[in-house]
Subunit: 474 residues, 2 copies
């Protein structure tokens, strides 16, 4: 199934008023470059996972104003007929630089660089931010949860608490990039070709006269795919023994019980009890599935206490990107070049100043493949060992590019003249990329609390340009 | 424009496996009742605002499995051909009780009661929760923000940080019910007939050679709708004086500058300075608009410090329902009656036990129109003054129904045999209802921190039935 592209109206009114203004001023065709970036890594963590590129490029390629949209804009009575005519032929015909999905990224790095006419490059701001902000936020949360779960499997169960229907749909896609590759959401399975998982609810058990009848009926309908929810009445007293009866009956019919699910109580304790119980009864292959407000912190503490959980079902806290300053990624989209002139937002607060001009995003990799630091440089600048690079937020702190590092460009052209150059890597490939790149970060970077901070520096050329522009008051 | 109804696949896989199980067991046509409720008021507040009914009913009325959906389910290879045939004719033909949107509601209250065949009433769980949970959460956040803003106007600007495209779209609808009736989101304006608002971004200013040229160009294009963003370079040093030049030029042409917007810095201080500046210059009608990570707490403190803000633009924290245990509403959907038998989830933790049987939701109103308490009662029970009612979470606490109260049923039938009985009140009417009802709550209920807790009780009949079912272990 297709994942539909957003309407051209899925944007802020001010994108249209600015577009109209540029059009009326004769400025619409000036050349402009915008960078999309964020200023703080989410969840008080040390990294983020890039995601959302494929839907963003699909939006850019398919963007056009249909008659219904133009009629609506006309009804607002703030636009001229000349401008409404112009919209009928309006397309995104610009180019985009970006890393592949699944790339490990950091605060301040230019992620998407969008180049084109001032009109088209400005107009797409809100929709790009809407798509990319949320996808990065979910992919990063998924990577944190997946890291905490170690060798256990994690499933995405968040639809019922997600922020609207599409919140629920796009969660599943980004979660797959972050390493949570199966979902309960059928529409996400159909749209993104993801495996779907799920069993039954407490209401299934309550609809029968007793728990054992409910378990037997479920096993009858799904003998080779049977996971039983054992906490409707009394997990240890009735759920476990009833599940064992069904496991034995299934085995007599040539099937094996796939697992049992815990959805309440002390999951570390109950999972150890369940594991011992099935092991002792000769069913060591029965999987223990757990759910109930799980996130990376809860999973970490369950594992710390020796919980025996094979599969974690993660819902609300993944779907809503909860906790630790989550909920939203503060991604922004800033003009960095117009008509060949570098541009920056000058402010007394250096943490809010933008980085001017068109750029490269470079990663320094040591001979063993470990990541040393990232450097943001001007587009035509060449980095060499021994060169001094600077902290973007604190000009007095600088470092030297070490000898022997390999310098990799993280981004590539993904769109030119409004056409996609490729249709993105598969979600599997993106998930693999994320996992591999996370393993190349310095020790301590994956720690949940107070992680090691990976270094992101700016090049000497960018440092000089920014200083000069700040001194001029632009 | 139409707001599209979700796909039948926008649900958890287990809804389909349970549906198949009921079908194969011959249980699909049993009569069942489910209640949708939540256990904790969001944001550590004392109330919530009911929202999401119209899209929920639209979903129920339009629910059907098209060929593409059935083909996808077939491809999973877990369902029988007989069941897939059954899906082609599957509809929701049940009935629904609910309060009108904008009703003030509380934890534990049955909001939607869905009655029908076990098959249809179970199947719709996930999608109803996805719609209603998020709409209630946003409407409640909007009511909190709107209350904090007092007589000032509030606009919804959250699209760029919302959780996906539809997260952004449905935010605007629910925010309108909660009292934030204008949005920057054009698609929401088109779908829900909401007024749209917005001006220009920092990039507009940066695209010109200087700030004054940018302001003049904007005023030229939108002379009767001109709000200028004054913090790109230096709010007091350049933004304000340049805006005044444009205000004077507009006046010479017969127009008035509508306002200026602040998007950074100390909003209380800067808004006082801006107010004094325009007042002294003879422009007391210029509005001060402010944005930048606002929510009810920030707005409250700005007003406390004498900030002079006429219009608040609220984005991220509204769209993501941030803060104070927000992010997600823990709404659940529980079987309360099956084949005429009351059902409940029995658990040792009384805070998680459900309330069995079909119910009424009643509000006791004193002679002056103030709300005394709400009572959840059995469907055929009659409440009278002097009767003892009980705290649902603490059986030892009880109260007496006072003399002279008026007893109002909060819910009405909104769907029978799968057809809507009406298409819901307008968003304006819902917003008006929310505002009026909030004013009838006991003093202190609207306080942001540690509010007065409104009483929700259960009737003697419900109290007895629950005790009896818990003693029987169901």
């Amino acid at each position: 199934m297709n994942y539909p592209s957003p309407s051209p109206l899925l944007t802020d009114l001010y994108q249209l008023t600015m577009l109209a203004g540029y059009f009326e001023e004769g400025m619409a065709e000036r050349r402009a470059s915008f960078d999309l970036f964020f200023r703080t890594n989410p969840y008080q963590g040390s990294y983020a996972i890039f995601a959302g590129l494929a839907p963003a490029l699909q939006y850019l390629e398919e963007l056009r104003f249909d008659n219904a949209s133009i009629s609506y804009l006309e009804s607002l009575k703030i636009f001229t007929p000349r401008f409404l005519d112009y919209l009928a032929d309006f397309r995104f015909r610009g180019s985009v630089l970006a890393p592949p999905e699944g790339t490990v990224i950091f605060a301040h790095e230019p992620l998407l660089s969008v180049e084109g006419s001032l009109a088209e490059a400005q107009f797409v701001e809100t929709t790009l931010l809407n798509i990319i902000n949320f996808q990065i936020l979910v992919a990063t949360k998924a990577a944190r949860i997946s890291t905490a779960a170690g060798a256990s499997t994690v499933l995405e169960f968040g639809l019922r608490r997600a922020q609207g229907p599409d919140g629920g749909l796009s969660v599943a896609r980004a979660a797959a990039i972050g390493g949570i590759g199966a979902t309960s959401n059928l529409l996400a399975g159909a749209c993104f070709d993801l495996p779907v998982r799920g069993t039954h609810a407490h209401s299934w058990v309550m609809a029968f006269d007793d728990e054992l009848s409910a378990f037997r009926a479920y096993a009858k309908s799904f003998p080779d795919n049977c996971v039983l929810l054992i906490d409707t009445y009394d997990t240890l007293g009735s759920g476990l023994p009833n599940a064992l009866i069904v496991a034995k009956e299934l085995r007599q019919r040539g099937y094996e019980l796939l697992g049992v699910r815990l959805d309440s109580g002390d999951l570390a304790y109950l999972s150890r009890k369940a594991r011992e119980f099935f092991d002792a009864a000769g069913f060591p292959e029965v999987k223990i599935v757990a759910s109930n407000d799980l996130d990376e912190h809860v999973i970490h503490s369950i594992r710390d206490e020796g919980g025996c959980i094979d599969i974690y079902g993660v819902g609300t806290r993944l779907a809503t990107c909860a906790g630790d300053g989550g909920g939203a990624l503060g991604g922004v989209y800033k003009l960095v070049c117009c008509d060949g002139q570098p541009k920056m937002k000058v402010t007394s607060d250096i943490t809010k100043a933008t980085l001017p001009a068109r750029k490269q995003l470079l990663r320094l990799v040591d001979p063993r493949g470990n990541y040393e630091m990232d450097v943001i440089a001007l587009v035509d600048e060449k980095l060499t060992p021994g060169m001094t690079v600077y902290d973007p937020q604190n000009p007095s702190r600088h470092r030297t590019i070490p000898e022997g590092v390999r310098i990799e460009e993280l981004r590539r052209p993904v769109m030119t003249e409004g056409r996609r150059l490729d249709h993105g890597s598969s979600l599997d490939a993106a998930a693999k990329r994320a996992k591999e790149q996370l393993s190349c970060l310095p020790t301590g970077s994956l720690r949940q609390i107070n992680p090691h901070r990976y270094k992101v520096a700016i090049s000497p050329g960018l440092f000089q340009l920014r200083r000069q522009m700040m001194e001029q008051g632009e």
